[in-house]
Amino acid sequence: MNFSILGTGMYVPDNIVTNDDMSKIVDTSDEWIRQRVGVQRRHICTTETTVELGYQAALRALENSGTKPEELDLILAATVSGDNVSPSLSCMIQRKLGATCTAYDINAACSAFLYLLETAAGYFARGKVKKVLVVGAERLSKLVDWKDRGTCVIFADGAGAAVLGKGSGYLDSTFTTRGGDTVIKIPAYAGESPFSRLEPERPFIHMEGQETFKYAVNAICSDINKLLEQNGLTPDEIKYIVPHQANKRIIDLACIRLKMPISKFYVNIQEYGNTSSASIPIALDEINRKGLLKCGDLIILTAFGAGLSNAACLIRW
């Protein structure tokens, strides 16, 4: 016994920031951003909090699945850009929903949504839960250096959620960690200890673009090939690949190296930018609400990010 996805939801702040808007903040252009990253516009918070984004996505997923907050047995959430270090995002979503179940967060950066699913699968396997809410919510606009044109044009804000129920839709998964902070790093607030002799680091997203690109493409290709092989599947049998929306160029090159058509990959980075742990559930909600999947279709979710952590899973809709 594991789970099936009963419903999905997403929420992004109203404030839309175009590439032309970005070119007024840093030295960049619409053409450069489209060509290098594939983003056309992104949603950036003004007064919304990370909790609010996650709560709104959760409400929509609950409604889409016909689930009441009191029916939830577990809430798992992920963020690298929470409002508070503590209480966790999941605890605050529990409170706002009026749910009473256990709630905790998992940190696996951009791959985190898959780690939420894997953790939830363990609860279902032990028969401990009937309904689980999983949420990825990010306010990355507070973690980017708005003077660094290499990163501030990529990252954005948003949230995605799914409600899981008992079923047999979670078919297989693969998880990899290659610990290190040289490729992608977000330093924490340094504090004000009078005893600290550590050099404070600026608490912004730092990313080695080329190494990240190489790692991401290799992660997508090896994880997808692994899942196909382990399950005796051909690419034709997969309806959609839903990749973490980090950079369109990563997805394009993965397609070429996998010898799969780009139409197989669901891409929405042009609308939302890179929303880290929220990107896959946002894509999933769009796919769901557009009616692109029918019961029984196979999809692969694939993610990669800081840690370094990458993961993929095979799901029957």
Binding site: R36, E208, G209, Q210, E211, F213, K214, V217, N218, R249, L253, R257
Partner: protein, 73 residues
């Protein structure tokens, strides 16, 4: 040998005549950006069966040749 193979990989990627490339050829002059360079590095890794580090110091065909030769020594 390394130079010829690398030129072949670059020519295939950007659809040009490999004989027009020299060690001094700058990627910027070929319209190759840093992510394209990364793709070239990945293709070279596959071709030579080696693992390479990629960073912004790779600016020319000669830089790539030197990097690969240092790994093959």
């Amino acid at each position: 040998m390394v130079f010829e193979k690398i030129c072949g990989i670059i020519a295939e990627k950007i659809n040009c005549d490999a004989s027009t490339l020299s060690e001094d050829t700058k990627f910027a002059d070929l319209g190759i950006d840093s992510l394209d360079v990364t793709e070239l590095v990945m293709n070279i890794e596959d071709e030579f069966g080696i693992e390479l580090e990629v960073d912004s110091s790779l600016q020319s065909v000669g830089d790539l040749v030197k990097l690969v030769e240092s790994k093959l020594d």
